[in-house]
């Protein structure tokens, strides 16, 4: 076992205290010898500590053929290690090798042979594999790690995968933080993907749940159309085809490359002793060998230079979405774009019962309240790590015969006014006030704060949270006019128009729109991805 020289790491430990305007962040920062970052935020309160681990890996690190791997891997990380989740490691591994051998043959027959291969042969292998899986159960301790965390009072127990980051979460009583360090460092090195094939089924069920969410399949297409090249174009869940065909070897390769300490941040927020946390981190995370450095994503999004439009229909509410390519995080224009989003329509996103937030944006006042053309409308600016997007969403008032295209026209008219005259001083100040207050508020929520600070660390460093707020305070109306002109252009946009397809007697009556033109193709069955069932 390799213990890294304590001195080297200790030299790098430093306490940092940074502030912007009224907001202060008290972050203790420490880099282990293997490159892993430990962040600590002491916070008085109940004796519990939010313990999160984040890896700089998400769906953008995938490629066609293995989409959905980052998320599938997150599921597999709960299946045990050499010491967790198994009674006889060698016997379990031996069976896994035989299962993989069978499944490799089966996948080849099924997925490489035109027409899907010989069904009897496939069924035979499938049966054999299932027999082995049943035999293997005697060695498996189900959800060992999860149970151990729960037994020790773990709450907020979960994991999540995004485009850019994968996180593993637990909040423990303050005296039990070491448990998390032991278990997380263990699975960073030693994860075993037990029950791989049944867990793939679970993930495909998770995808089906999303497919049953009205509008999901359309929004998946919209996203895929908006990005021509960037890997942000596929959903975190991945394409069903890839989920079906991905192998344990694919996943092992993905895991080995990305789950390394130099690609990882651990963060602790709560009532804690920073020195004790650092000592434990050295002991447990410090023993993980450093991995090869990871190259940033190569494929950025090329300029669009053409207008994109997408039309769809199905079981979700009639709606309009307008998307614009925007700069990535760290670009100077993001501050003005953020203020623009607030001024135009932040907070109006919710439309179900319990909708939240004041609807004081320009578009809300104009289109929801004054002209009564929209049920709701919202505007958001999302600067992501490699490519940014500015988004409008709206639902028209069908009872008033309003169509998505009418709202689209209104939004363009408003954008035109902003390109000419910008915003009012009050609107700009409101955007600044809101951003600052929201940051202060987020400091009071330990789990959310941990996520924000750690993901910022994996991007441009945690201090970027405060630097961005300072940038925001400097925005002038000239900036607003400039960015409005630069990004709100047709050949930088995708407009998606979705019509609810009514069933039965409702059809064609309530929508307040003309029926299909003569000779239009008959209604298509609602899209389910090809071969959605096994």
């Amino acid at each position: 076992m390799s213990r890294l020289p304590f001195l080297l790491a200790a030299l790098l430990a430093l306490a940092a205290y940074a502030s912007a305007a009224s907001v202060q962040l008290d972050v203790r920062e420490h880099v282990l010898g293997n490159g892993m970052k430990i962040l600590i935020l002491p916070k008085a309160g109940v004796p519990r500590v939010v313990c999160h681990v984040y890896y700089r890996v998400g769906s953008i690190n995938e490629r066609p053929g293995i989409t959905g791997s980052a998320h599938l891997l997150e599921h597999m990380m709960f299946k045990g290690t050499r010491m967790m989740g198994v009674t006889d490691f060698e016997a379990d591994q031996a069976i896994d090798r035989r299962i993989d051998e069978l499944m490799a043959r089966l996948y080849r027959e099924k997925f490489w042979t035109p027409g899907g291969g010989n069904p009897e042969q496939i069924a035979t292998w499938q049966k054999e594999a299932e027999t082995l899986m049943t035999e293997q159960k005697q060695y498996i301790i189900k959800d060992d790690l999860w149970g151990l965390y729960m037994k020790h009072g773990g709450t907020g127990l979960n994991a999540s995968t995004g485009n850019e980051v994968t996180g593993y979460y637990v909040t423990l009583p303050a005296n039990k933080v070491e448990l998390q360090m032991l278990l997380e460092s263990d699975r960073m090195m030693n994860a075993c993907f037990r029950e791989f094939y049944s867990e793939k089924d679970v993930v495909m069920e998770e995808r089906r749940l999303s497919e049953n969410r009205p509008g999901f399949l359309f929004s998946e297409q919209v996203n895929a159309s908006f990005y021509a090249a960037s890997p942000y174009r596929w959903e975190v869940l991945g394409w069903m085809d890839d989920l079906r065909k991905v192998t344990r070897a694919d996943l092992t390769d993905f895991y080995r490359r990305h789950y390394v300490p130099n690609n990882c941040v651990a963060i602790y927020v709560g009532e804690l002793d920073p020195e004790a946390i650092l000592a434990m981190a050295e002991k447990h995370f410090g023993r993980v060998p450093r991995g090869a450095d990871l190259e940033p994503i190569r494929t950025l999004e090329p300029p669009q230079l053409c207008e994109k439009r997408l039309y769809g229909e199905g079981p979700a509410p009639t709606s309009l979405q307008m998307m614009f390519h925007a700069p990535p995080e760290g670009h100077a224009d993001n501050a003005a774009l953020s203020i623009l989003a607030t001024a135009l329509g932040s907070g109006g996103g919710g439309f179900r019962r319990g909708a939240r937030g004041g609807e004081t944006g320009r578009l809300q006042k104009l289109l929801v309240k004054e002209k009564e053309m929209a049920v709701n409308i919202s505007a958001f600016s999302y600067p992501q790590r490699y490519v940014g997007v500015f988004n409008f969403n709206a639902q028209p008032r069908i009872d008033k015969g309003v169509r998505p295209e009418d709202l689209e026209r209104e939004i363009w008219a408003e954008l035109g006014r902003i390109q000419q005259t910008g915003l009012t001083d009050e609107e700009i100040q409101k955007g600044k006030n809101k951003a600052e207050a929201m940051l202060v508020r987020s400091l009071g929520m330990p789990a959310g704060l941990a996520r924000r600070v750690a993901t910022a660390e994996l991007g441009r460093g945690w201090r970027s949270i405060l630097a961005d707020l300072e940038q925001l305070q400097k925005v002038t109306n000239e900036d607003i006019k400039r960015v409005a002109a630069a990004y709100f252009a047709k050949d930088n946009s995708l407009t998606a128009i979705y019509q609810r397809k009514l069933e039965g007697r409702e059809r064609g009556r309530r929508e307040g729109r003309p029926g299909p033109p003569p000779g239009a193709p008959p209604d298509r069955p609602q899209g389910r991805p090809q071969g959605g069932e096994r």
């Binding site: 010491m83 094939y197 867990e199 069908i398 009071g444 039965g504």
Partner: protein, 487 residues
């Protein structure tokens, strides 16, 4: 082919040998002792003018101030012909303005300050919440009490809120999970305030006078409890608040009499047709009231059955062993003043709906038949003991919890005695409450899904679904009209 096998073998060998580093085992870890006592509600209780009560905790860490008013008024207080009143009140209490300010002025000001002012109507209580930077405390309090005491439900915002709520009814059948939740509640509670829903007609019939009447009846100091936290001085709070509520007369609130009679739906399958690729299932019957003394044993029992996520039997069986679903488990929902519900639940692809249900039924029968294991009991009890302090992580959350306990009449020593009650749960008690509160012979199994493939089943559990009991086809209700949706 051989290359693939070779690659797999290499990877397996690597994972099996070279890359493993020996780790200390979790059982070898030594944890220092930790004592925790929950906050005592009495230490935070405050009284204000006119019989208004509250709980307040200073928390000077951040320059923030939060205040909430919980009102004992919810959807169950709304008569049948006024359905939708709760939702409409929720949308217009702030937006509809007050006697002296219009709604837009209030929202603009709060938004400009970076604050939040929300009102939400729930099943039994409603809550107005304000959060502002503490430098804006006085201005925020003034707006907060103006909205709470003097709402005006002005015509413009009132009509707009109504039209938008009616538009949103169109979406009520979009999500299978929403259809299931609504119809399952209707099946178990029958024709009752707990299951009534608004339609276009009931929304249209509502007037601003209805909202004013409800407000005048229920928004009285004695029927409201405040919860306050953040950067403020407790000693100064009564002075600030009493000035703002001086003209708010208390008067006793007459609570409506709500029926406690519920139907017993015939056991069996209740199927709602929707063309989707999964079946959404809830199966169960009425359960316990929140103050039932068996609460603690039932919580531990259900943790083992299907409430303890991955550490529960239903998740292990249905998800982990069989890979049938992403969401599955069981839950007891508790209600104050009414029996809650027991439900097993799962969402799985159409062909495995019957199989998944049969596995859940097996687990319900097994926990009645056999004692749970020592390990299962230890894990469940330890979870409740060790996670206990998590309920008090947020000062505002703690104050809100205390306020709600007092509002609904829950014993105020609930948290002081919670861990003692949990420690007392035994294997025998778990089996006893499983037999008392899980009634397989009474189960109603409700499924939202596509009939043909669900009924056909799959290899491990071929249909038809009536193997689970008599099948009732439940029509889908058009939420706009309240009538059946016809094909």
């Amino acid at each position: 082919m051989n290359k693939i096998l070779c690659l797999i073998t290499i990877v397996s060998l690597l994972t099996g040998a070279a890359l493993f580093v020996r780790a200390e085992r979790p059982s070898e870890l030594k944890f220092p002792p930790l004592k925790y006592e929950p906050p005592d509600p009495a230490a935070y209780k405050m009284t204000f003018a006119n019989g208004l009560r509250g709980y307040a905790m200073e928390d000077r860490g951040l320059p923030l101030f939060t205040i909430a008013a919980q009102v004992q008024f919810g959807d169950i207080h709304v008569p049948g012909d006024k359905q939708g009143l709760g939702g409409l009140l929720g949308r217009t209490l702030v937006q509809g303005g007050t006697k002296s300010r219009d709604g837009e002025t209030i929202e603009e000001r709060i938004d400009f300050l970076g604050g939040m002012l929300n009102f939400n109507v729930g099943e039994q209580t409603s809550t107005l919440t304000l959060s502002v930077l503490s430098k804006d405390l006085d201005e925020g309090l003034e707006l907060f009490f103006d909205v709470l005491l003097n709402p005006e439900f002005r015509e413009g915002p009132f009509n707009l809120a109504k039209a938008r709520l009616i538009e949103e009814l169109r979406q009520a059948n979009d999500q299978p999970s929403e259809i299931l939740a609504r119809e399952y509640q209707r099946l178990l509670y029958g024709d009752h305030p707990l299951s009534w829903r608004p339609t276009r007609q009931t929304y249209e019939a509502l007037t601003a006078a209805d909202l004013k009447a409800a407000h005048a009846r229920y928004f009285r100091p004695g029927n409201v409890i405040l919860s306050v936290s953040g950067d403020f001085a407790r000693t100064e709070l009564p002075g600030k608040i009493n000035r703002l509520i001086a003209a708010w007369p208390d008067q006793p609130v007459e609570q409506p009499r709500i029926s406690r009679e519920f139907p017993s739906p015939e056991p069996g399958v209740y199927f709602i047709q929707k063309k989707i690729n999964q079946g959404y299932v809830s199966l169960g019957h009425l359960g316990l009231e929140e103050n039932n003394p068996d609460y603690y044993a039932v919580q531990v029992m259900n943790f083992i059955l299907g409430g303890g996520s991955f550490s529960s039997r239903i998740t292990t069986k249905v998800r982990s062993d069989e890979g049938l679903s992403y969401n599955q488990g069981s839950r007891f929902a508790y209600r104050w003043g009414f029996p809650g519900t027991f439900s097993g639940y799962v969402q799985t692809k159409s062909a495995t709906v019957g199989y998944a249900v049969s596995l859940i039924l097996d687990e319900i029968r097994r926990i009645r038949r056999e004692p749970v294991s020592d390990e299962e009991l230890e894990l469940a009890i330890n979870f409740y003991l060790e996670s206990f302090s998590s309920g008090f992580e947020s000062p505002q959350g703690t104050m809100t919890t205390f306020a709600e306990m007092e509002l609904v009449g829950k014993p105020m020593d609930y948290y002081q005695t919670f861990r003692k009650h949990i420690r007392e749960v035994t294997k025998a008690r778990v089996q006893e409450v499983a037999n008392k509160y899980l009634q397989p012979e009474r189960l109603a199994i409700m499924i939202v899904g596509d009939w043909e493939p669900c009924n056909q089943g799959g290899e491990k559990w071929p249909g038809p679904l009536d193997k689970l009991g008599p099948v009732h086809r439940v029509p889908l209700i058009d939420p706009l009209t309240g009538a059946e949706v016809k094909d």
